[in-house]
C-alpha cells in the first residue's frame, strides 16, 4: 500500500480536496478522502506531499510520438506511407520507436498517456495506438491498440498526391477516396458477417473495427467545411463514430458539433499558422467550443509542438484564452480519456482508477514548473524531480 498525504488533490471529476489523502493498492486507487484512511502502517509507504498539487496523469490525445522522430534523420520518419491514399491496413505500432527521446520528455512532464500514430499524408492513414510513454517494449506500453483509424481531409492529402499527379488533388477527390473505401469495407464486412466467402484483404479487415464501433475514425480536418464533410460521410452516410482532429475552424460550427455530439481534439495552437486552412488558429477557440457544449481535448500534434511544452500550451489556453485553470485541466485529463474510451481507468483521481498520478509544487501551467513526482500504475517512478 502507498498513501499520499497532505496533498491538494485535483480529482478533476469531484472538485479539489485540500489536505487530502490518496490510498493506493497495487496498480489502483483504493480511496480518495479528506480524512486519513485506516491503514496498517507497517505495510504502508507514506509520501508526504507537503501541500503539493496532485493531478491524474495528463493525456495528449493526438501526437506522433515515435512515428516522427526527435533528433533523428528522415530515415527515422515513419508516419506517412504516401504511396497510396487509402491505407487502413497499416498499423502505427509497427512504426513506433519507443526509444525516441520524446517519450521521456512526455513522461517527465506528466503526460504518461498519449495517442500516437499515422500522419495526415493519406486520406486513410492507418490504425493508431493509445499507449504509455514509459517503457521499453512498445507492446508492453500499449493501453489500447488499435485505438482509432487516422483519416485526413483538406490540404495535406491534396498536397501529397498533387505532387504525384494522382487522385486526390481536390477536396472532392479526397471525399471520393474516403467514401469508396468505406463502401468497399462495408460490403466486405457485410459479406463476411453473413458467412459469405470473400478474398482476404488486410485493408478491409481493418475496417471491421470501425463498422463494429470498436474504434472511431479520427478525422484530421481544419476548415469548417472539411469538418462538415467528414461528419456527412462518416457519420450520416455510414453511421460511424467520428472524432475531429485539429478542428482549427471548429468554433465556427460549434453549435452543429454540439448537436452532432462529435468531439474535437483541438490544436496545435502554440504554432505559427503554416497553412491557409490553419488561419483561424487561436487560443480563444477552446473556450468558445467548451461553452457551446462540445467535448474538447487539447493536442500538441507532437512534434509540431514539442510534447515537452504541452503544459505551456495548456497554460496559454487557460490564461490568454481565458478558459480558466480547472476547465483547461479537463482538456488534458478526463476529456481525452473519454474521447479515447479509457475513462473507466484514467483521466481523474477516483477510487478504482489506475494510480497514474503527477505532483507539482507550483502551477503546472507555468513556464517555471516541473513535475515533482510521477507515479505510474501505483509505482513511484520520479520523486523530487529525479528518477527513483
Amino acid at each position: 500500500m502507498l498513501l499520499i498525504k497532505n496533498a491538494r488533490i485535483h480529482t478533476i471529476t469531484q472538485g479539489v480536496i485540500e489536505n487530502g489523502f490518496v490510498l493506493i493498492e497495487g496498480k489502483r486507487i483504493k480511496k480518495v478522502s479528506n480524512e486519513p484512511p485506516e491503514v496498517d502502517l507497517s505495510k504502508t509507504r507514506i509520501i508526504d506531499a507537503q501541500g503539493k498539487m496532485v493531478f491524474p496523469s495528463f493525456i495528449d490525445a493526438h501526437t506522433h510520438l515515435g512515428t516522427f522522430p526527435l533528433e533523428g534523420t528522415e530515415m527515422d520518419a515513419d508516419g506517412n506511407e504516401m504511396t497510396n491514399p487509402a491505407t487502413p491496413g497499416l498499423r502505427a505500432i509497427d512504426s513506433i520507436n519507443p526509444y525516441d527521446p520524446a517519450f521521456k520528455e512526455a513522461f517527465e512532464s506528466g503526460f504518461e498517456i498519449v495517442f500516437t500514430g499515422a500522419g495526415s499524408g493519406n486520406v486513410i492513414g492507418g490504425l493508431s495506438v493509445t499507449m504509455k510513454t514509459y517503457g521499453n517494449i512498445v507492446d508492453e506500453m500499449v493501453i489500447k491498440n488499435p485505438a482509432g483509424l487516422k483519416c485526413a481531409f483538406g490540404e495535406n492529402p491534396k498536397r501529397v498526391y498533387s505532387s504525384k499527379n494522382q487522385l486526390p488533388t481536390t477536396r472532392m477527390g479526397t471525399a471520393k477516396v474516403f467514401r469508396e473505401t468505406l463502401y468497399k469495407g462495408k460490403n466486405y464486412y457485410e459479406k463476411k458477417k453473413s458467412g459469405e466467402k470473400v478474398d482476404f484483404d488486410l485493408n478491409m479487415e481493418s475496417l471491421f473495427l470501425v463498422f463494429d464501433h470498436k474504434i472511431p475514425l479520427r478525422i484530421h480536418s481544419h476548415r469548417a467545411d472539411d469538418i462538415v464533410t467528414a461528419i456527412r460521410i462518416a457519420k450520416h452516410e455510414f453511421g460511424l463514430d467520428v472524432v475531429i482532429e485539429h478542428g482549427t475552424d471548429s468554433a465556427k460550427i460549434r453549435d452543429f458539433l454540439a448537436k452532432e455530439n462529435v468531439p474535437v481534439i483541438l490544436g496545435p495552437i502554440l504554432d505559427v499558422s503554416p497553412k491557409v486552412e490553419t488561419k483561424p488558429n487561436s487560443f480563444e477557440n477552446p473556450k468558445k467550443l467548451v461553452e457551446a457544449g462540445v467535448k474538447v481535448a487539447l493536442m500538441t500534434d507532437h512534434p509540431v509542438v514539442s510534447i515537452g511544452y504541452a503544459l505551456i500550451q495548456a497554460g496559454l489556453v487557460a490564461y490568454e484564452g481565458k478558459l480558466g485553470f480547472d476547465e483547461t485541466l479537463k482538456l488534458i485529463t478526463i476529456n481525452p480519456a473519454q474521447i479515447l474510451g479509457i475513462d473507466s481507468d484514467y483521466g481523474s483521481i477516483e477510487e478504482g482508477k489506475v494510480a497514474n498520478l503527477v505532483m507539482f509544487d507550483r502551477n503546472p501551467f507555468s513556464v517555471l514548473s516541473k513535475a515533482d513526482t510521477v507515479l505510474l500504475e501505483g509505482e513511484v517512478i520520479i520523486e523530487g524531480g529525479k528518477y527513483v
Partner: protein, 369 residues
C-alpha cells in the same frame, strides 16, 4: 504627457519596484517617484519593460496562413550566393504575424532572409507595426545572412548543384567574399551583390551566421576571421561545445528557438541550459524565435525557460531586450531610460510566463494596445 505607474519596472538593467514613467510621443521625461501633473492619460501595470527584440526572424517574409507559394518569400533558392537580395523588398507588413507579435510584446524584429542560401542577403530592422515597410523601418539594410548548416545542402544537392557538402558551402562563401574584396579594390564592372557586401567587409555591418552544429559554428568563425568580419552566431544550438572559441573571439550568440521540436539531427542539444552556460562564460547571448519556426509572439516564454533553469529574472529578460539591442549596436532600443525612446510593454503578471498577459503597448510614444 502620459504617466505609467508600474509595480515593477525592468529598465533593461535591473528590476525596480513602484516606479512611474512620464513621457510624450517623443521621449521619456521622468523615471522614478510618483509625480503629479496634468497628464493626458495615466496607466497602471504590474510589470513594465522595454520592447522585446527578436533578431533573426523571418516574419513578413514567410507569411502566416498562406501556404507555400503566395506567402513564402523567405528563400530565393535559385542561386546559392545572393548577397544582392534585401529582406526589405520581400517583407509583407500585412502579415498577420506582425499584429500577433505586438500582442505578445515582441515589438522589434531583425528580419533576415532564410537558410537555403549560404549567402542569403541583407536584413532589415523594423518595428512590427506600421502602414508600410518604410514606416516600420528602423534601419535598412542591417545584417548579412550566411547559412552554414544542412539546409543549403538539401536545397542544392538534389539539383546536382554546389553546394552538396559543407565544403561546398564554405567554398561558395569564401569565393564570393574574395571576389567582393577584389571588386572593392578596382570596381571594374558594377556588381550589385559585391557592392552590397562592402559595408560588411569594411566592418560597418554585421554578419549573421546561421549554424546549429558545433563544427558549423567553428567553420563560421573561421571564415568570419579570414575576412575580419564582425559577426554573430544565429541559432547556435551546440554553441556550448565551442564556448571557449566564442568567448576568446567575443562573438555573440542569438540562441534558439528553444521551444522548438528537435526535428532534425542538427538540433540535437537544443536546450535552455545552453544559453545559461554561455551567459556564465560572459558571452553576449540573446534569444530568437526563428519565426516562423516558433511564433515571435511567444518569444517571451523562452526567457521563462531560462529562469526555470536557474537564471535570474533580470538576466533572462535581458536576453530578449538589452542584449539583442547591444548585438546590433542599438542599446537604446533595449532600455527604458530618461530621454530615451517611449517604447514600452506592460503586463498583468509575469512577462515570461503563461500567466502574464500583455495589457499595454506603447510604440514610438503611441498606444497600440
Amino acid at each position: 504627457m502620459y504617466k505609467i505607474y508600474a509595480k515593477k519596472l525592468f529598465n533593461g538593467e535591473e528590476i525596480l519596484e513602484d516606479r512611474v514613467v512620464v513621457f510624450d510621443e517623443e521621449k521619456i521625461f521622468h523615471i522614478g517617484e510618483d509625480i503629479n501633473d496634468n497628464f493626458k492619460e495615466v496607466y497602471n501595470v504590474d510589470f513594465l519593460m522595454p520592447p522585446i527584440i527578436d533578431l533573426g526572424s523571418g516574419i513578413g517574409l514567410k507569411e502566416e496562413s498562406l501556404g507555400r507559394i503566395e506567402g513564402d518569400d523567405l528563400d530565393e533558392a535559385t542561386n546559392p550566393a545572393t548577397p544582392e537580395l534585401f529582406a526589405a523588398d520581400g517583407v509583407n507588413p500585412y502579415d498577420e504575424a506582425f499584429e500577433k507579435a505586438v500582442k505578445g510584446g515582441s515589438l522589434i524584429s531583425l528580419i533576415l532572409p532564410g537558410n537555403a542560401n549560404p549567402i542569403g542577403g541583407h536584413g532589415v530592422l523594423v518595428y512590427n507595426r506600421g502602414k508600410h515597410i518604410l514606416d516600420m523601418t528602423i534601419e535598412n539594410p542591417l545584417g548579412v545572412k550566411f547559412s552554414i548548416n544542412t539546409e543549403p545542402k538539401s536545397t542544392y544537392g538534389p539539383k546536382g548543384k554546389t553546394p552538396m557538402t559543407r565544403m561546398g558551402i564554405a567554398y561558395l562563401i569564401r569565393d564570393t567574399l574574395y571576389k567582393a574584396k577584389e571588386y572593392n579594390k578596382e570596381r571594374k564592372e558594377f556588381s550589385l551583390g559585391f557592392e552590397s557586401l562592402i559595408p560588411l567587409l569594411e566592418g560597418k555591418d554585421l554578419a549573421f551566421f546561421a549554424s546549429f552544429r558545433a563544427d558549423d559554428i567553428a567553420t563560421s568563425i573561421r571564415i568570419g576571421e579570414e575576412f575580419g568580419l564582425r559577426m554573430a552566431i544565429l541559432y547556435g544550438v551546440q554553441s556550448n561545445m565551442v564556448k571557449d572559441l566564442l568567448k576568446e573571439r567575443n562573438i555573440p550568440v542569438v540562441y534558439g528557438p528553444i521551444m522548438f521540436p528537435r526535428w532534425s539531427i542538427e538540433l540535437k542539444g537544443l536546450s535552455p541550459k545552453v544559453p545559461l552556460e554561455l551567459i556564465s562564460e560572459g558571452i553576449l547571448t540573446a534569444l530568437t524565435s526563428g519565426h516562423p519556426m516558433f511564433p515571435s509572439k511567444y518569444l517571451r516564454l523562452n526567457a521563462g525557460l531560462l529562469i526555470k533553469e536557474g537564471l535570474s529574472e533580470v538576466e533572462a529578460l535581458k536576453t530578449i531586450t538589452l542584449i539583442p539591442a547591444k548585438i546590433i549596436g542599438k542599446e537604446n532600443l533595449g532600455k527604458i531610460e530618461k530621454d530615451g525612446l517611449p517604447n514600452f510593454v506592460g503586463f498583468d503578471g509575469a512577462p515570461y510566463d503563461t500567466t502574464g498577459i500583455v495589457s499595454l503597448v506603447f510604440m514610438k510614444g503611441v498606444r497600440v494596445i
